[in-house]
């Protein structure tokens, strides 16, 4: 269990923010009457309460709980991803391995602290294993395409996402026993960047960044979201192992990567002709819709911290 004072302050701040958001949502409905945008906004805020409770509860409970939560997140995201991927009968056994063996094993290896094996387990061993298991089923039709899609799903939903809880494993100089705070800071900055991009985009957004991929991602939303989330990350520099300027740089890096993740995952959705990956989180869509920014930012953030702040 974590009893860090700064972590409590951050959690308190998030709860205060949620309370204010709920109040604003309620007030807007009272003043303007309910419409589709407000309904969606309020559903999003309600879902945030649940997500904050689950994530906060797991981080507070310690490393095992955090790893279990991220295993579940990866599992649910991969499920949404594979559902959208037109796999064939010959992939059935490979998929069973992917869901029930490779995914849990990735997190289990991470939990043992054996960094050298975890970092190559999916990109090397699973990468070579999946086509082998599929080829045994004897179906050559679109073989490379099917295999590549399963590998891609595994890389994005499991390997990349698992870099977030991997932050707990790093021996950061002068920061022993405080890694949970860094994970909280990272997830907070990335998710707040999504929220702020949404807010800036809804209020000022005019010019889509890539109109054919997502008309809702605008230049105004992007710039406003990135700058305000970077400011937030910099303001919270005391909870991180970084100085104020470095915290701002890190925040800018993870928010920009988060945007990139959202854009790439949108292109996949658009190609498959769907709006959301799933319907598990009311107002947000699926799990994958909520963590698309983490997929891109977690691995790079992990390696930046590892390169600059560990021996």
């Amino acid at each position: 269990m974590i009893t860090d004072l700064q972590l409590r302050w951050m959690a308190g701040g998030v709860l205060a923010l949620l309370t204010v958001s709920s109040a604003i949502g309620w007030l807007l409905v009272r003043l303007r009457g309910e419409n589709a945008t407000l309904r969606n906004l309020n559903a999003r805020v309600r879902a945030w309460w649940v997500m904050v409770a689950v994530f906060g509860g797991a981080v507070w409970s310690g490393e095992t709980a955090t790893l279990l939560l991220f295993t579940l997140i990866s599992f649910l995201a991969l499920r949404e991803f594979v559902t959208l991927t037109p796999t064939r009968r010959g992939d059935h056994r490979s998929l069973f391995w992917v869901f029930f063996v490779i995914t849990p094993l990735n997190y289990w290896i991470l939990g043992t602290g054996w960094y050298g094996f975890w970092i190559i387990f999916i990109p090397v061993y699973a990468f070579l294993f999946i086509p082998l298991r599929s080829v045994l089923a004897g179906d050559c039709e679109r073989f490379l395409e099917r295999t590549a899609k399963v590998q891609w799903g595994l890389m994005i939903c499991v390997y990349c996402v698992s870099h977030a809880p991997a932050l707990l494993q790093l021996d950061i100089r002068g920061y022993a026993g405080q890694n949970a705070k860094l994970l909280f800071w990272f997830v907070l900055v990335v998710q707040m960047s999504d929220v702020l991009q949404y807010v800036w985009g809804k209020t000022l957004g005019r010019h889509p960044v890539v109109p054919t991929v997502s008309p809702n991602k605008t230049v105004e939303g992007l710039v406003g979201g990135l700058l305000s989330a970077t400011a937030l990350g910099a303001l919270l520099w005391r909870v991180t192992p970084f100085g104020p300027l470095e915290a701002a740089g890190m925040a800018l890096a993870v928010t920009a990567l988060g945007f990139a993740g959202g854009l790439v995952m949108s292109a996949i959705k658009r190609d498959r002709g769907v709006k959301d990956y799933g319907s598990l989180i009311e107002g947000h869509g699926g799990v994958m819709d909520r963590i698309d920014s983490l997929c891109y930012s977690a691995p790079i953030f992990f390696h930046l911290v590892r390169y600059y702040h560990t021996d």
């Binding site: 499920r79 594979v82 559902t83 796999t87 009968r89 059935h92 998929l95 069973f96 869901f99 002709g273």
Partner: protein, 204 residues
């Protein structure tokens, strides 16, 4: 209790959400007919129904499969209240049509797979005549087409282990038997109603 847990578990694992695009859930007597690709099919439709409807909805299933082994027997009799029919060699005593009419009674609904067997192709196979005879014998029962999506990916024919891909159960507009309609025409129309729901899933 077991029924509740089981249907919750099935919904959790298959992620099968019910989409009532052509009719609303109702306790009136219905015959749900669907495409058949997986052993999960009957259970998934049954589990996707609201509990008060589920309690009086009985899957029509193959006796040889559901009486093999104590677990299947228990589930078929005690949990699903399945109507077990003889599909290999029906006799006068074991006439599936009479069994289904008896099972409907005055309150219950049935889940039926008119193809008679699981099909691994992209579209359902030809429908057997039972659906037509039931429609004639019981014109008061609503015939609801159902399209099951992704069940063959979750648990394909010939596999023991299921994969947690998300499924969907789509309920369509009830089909009504026209007064002069022939058996063939009616069955073709019913099959088309199921296939049309597949198109609807692709579009949404």
């Amino acid at each position: 209790m077991i029924a509740g847990l089981l249907s919750f578990g099935v919904r959790l694992f298959t992620g099968a959400t019910a989409a009532w695009s052509g009719c609303q859930p109702s306790t009136r007597q219905r015959l749900y007919f669907a495409n058949h690709t997986s052993n999960l099919d009957a259970v998934v439709i049954w589990a996707s129904l609201p509990s008060e409807i589920r309690e009086r909805t009985r899957p029509v299933a193959a006796r040889d499969y559901w009486t093999a082994g104590p677990v299947r027997r228990y589930l078929a009799h005690r949990v699903f209240h399945a109507v077990l029919i003889e599909r290999k060699k029906p006799t006068v005593r074991d006439n599936p049509l009479e069994q289904m009419v008896d099972a409907l009674g005055t309150t219950d609904s049935l889940i039926l797979f008119p193809e008679g067997t699981r099909n691994s192709g992209p579209e359902p196979g030809t429908f057997k005549g039972g659906l037509f005879h039931l429609a004639r014998r019981r014109p008061d029962v609503e015939l609801v087409p159902v399209y099951l999506e992704n069940m063959n990916r979750i648990l394909p024919k010939g596999e023991m282990l299921a994969v947690p891909i998300l499924g969907r159960v789509r309920f369509g507009v009830p089909v009504v038997l026209e007064p002069e309609e022939t058996r063939e025409d009616f069955l073709i129309r019913c099959r088309a109603a199921v296939i049309a729901l597949h198109g609807e899933s692709e579009a949404s």
